[in-house]
């Protein structure tokens, strides 16, 4: 036990480990904030769809040898988020089909572009890193850390400012619109926020595992708590705790960061499911 603790303190001396923890906590916090609403809106898979779009955009950015790929990835992902969350009323292709279409399309095109244009010697390594996150959280530059911090704070601020509106629009969009709340505007704000988080979260867990970060904390919290506020607070706590635990375990045990965090999230979900069952029996 002491050895593990020693090893941990040793690692925490390194700045890149501290950066990983800071950014990891922020990403976990933001993704779980928005996750509750996404799950309730029946948009659980949107995280995965958008992350594939971000993957495609990353590939294009790499092919164009952009130094800062956020310049391209962020706008493209935001555009797709707006497009997808706007679905429902007047689209020819319905919700889940649109998500599936955009996500596999972006994945395929992304991989194609990476293959054709990549000058890297280790192509499959690059692809794997983008899809599963592997080490990118541990190789963040100071600038990337600050960007992540700024964007996370922006998302948290938007969520707090629009908390009641997001609740009302998610619970009953027709009622909100009918009583003069501009539901479309809030849906748009929400779409932008989710896109920002997806792009940030790619660093932490990689494109394929983002959905887990978005839905597991929300679903865990919904097993036990019954009000929107309690569910939101609980899912944030669960998400942050799981992310920190997962990061620490992966650093000490040398496992891949993304999948370790998701594994801890699954454990958390199991725990809350049992707790929920017990609470209902009492």
């Amino acid at each position: 036990m002491m050895e593990v603790a020693d090893k941990l303190f040793l690692y925490l001396e390194y700045p890149f480990v501290r950066y990983a923890l800071i950014v990891g906590v922020l990403i976990a916090l933001c993704s779980s904030l928005l996750g509750v609403t996404l799950v309730l809106k029946r948009f659980s898979l949107i995280g995965s769809g958008l992350s594939h779009v971000a993957f495609g955009a990353t590939a294009v950015a790499a092919a164009m040898s952009l130094t800062n790929n956020y310049v391209l990835v962020l706008p493209v992902t935001i555009a797709c988020a707006v497009l997808l969350l706007r679905t429902g009323q007047n689209t020819k292709i319905k919700g889940d089909a649109a998500v599936a279409m955009i996500s596999v399309g972006a994945l395929a095109i992304g991989y194609l572009i990476m293959n054709v244009f990549s000058e890297s010697a280790n192509l499959s390594g690059d692809v794997c890193a983008t899809l599963f996150g592997s080490t990118s959280i541990l190789t963040l530059t100071v600038a990337e850390v600050w960007l992540s911090v700024a964007l996370s704070i922006l998302v948290i601020a938007v969520f707090l400012l629009f908390y009641h509106k997001i609740f009302a629009v998610t619970f009953d969009e027709d009622f909100s619109t009918a009583t003069g709340v501009r539901a479309q505007v809030y849906n748009l704000v929400f779409a932008v926020a989710i896109a920002v988080i997806i792009v940030l979260a790619m660093n932490l867990v990689g494109a394929l595992l983002i959905s887990a970060l978005v839905i597991f904390p929300a679903l865990s919290a919904m097993r036990v708590f019954k009000s929107f506020r309690a569910v939101t607070v609980c899912s944030v706590v669960v998400s942050v705790v799981c992310a920190v635990l997962g990061l620490l375990v992966s650093i000490v045990a040398g496992t891949p960061v993304g999948s370790t965090i998701v594994a801890v999230d699954i454990g958390g979900f199991a725990l809350f499911s049992v707790a929920g069952l017990i609470a209902r029996r009492l």
């Binding site: 309730l40 908390y163 009918a178």
Partner: protein, 237 residues
Amino acid sequence: MPQLSCQDLTLGYEGKAVASGLSFTVGAGDYLCIVGENGCGKSTLVKTLLRLKAPMAGQVVVGDGLRPGEIGYLPQQTVVQKDFPASVREVVRSGCLNRCGLRPFYNRAEKQMAEENMDRLGVSSLAKRCYRELSGGQQQRVLLARALCATRKILLLDEPTAGLDPKVTAELYALIGRLNDEGITIVMISHDVGASVRYASHILHIGKGSALFFGTKAAYLESEAGRAYADVGGGQA
């Protein structure tokens, strides 16, 4: 000046008219029931009155000090709400949102109003309960309280008694009647012609494609449409 007046409305989806030639008015304190068969355009009419959907022709005019966005609405249950974690208080308070504007939180007056409306509908004791765990009748009361937070003048109810048992249905009708007595205008979509005739002051009967009747309840009972319907549904009345 009536609170709502519709002139020669044509309603429909994607260029196909469902109902046309709908003209009627709703004055302050009226209790209007809109009856008709499935598919005659009742739900579309609701969406149009709430301005969720533009009419294909004609217009809806609000007057008598009623602003658009001030219509309290009791919708039919949606799938999302079946497993939505929300406390009763959170749901009722969300009705105040149209008063908030850009202010991010509810102020004291709005919270107070939510409490008063919960009291008024007898759901105060449920304030901390989870909305999805309530019975159908309790859920409707909660949504009514929310609608009352959004308006002081007019309520639009879409099949409020769907899926409720007869006892709860009667209680809900009594409650709606009481709100009407307190001066709130009621516009109600209903399948239940018997109850409509019993409680309403005015009836709008939409037939296949056009309005069959609009007028007071007494005139409706004398009319051809009313008599034809009373023969079918009269047993319940």
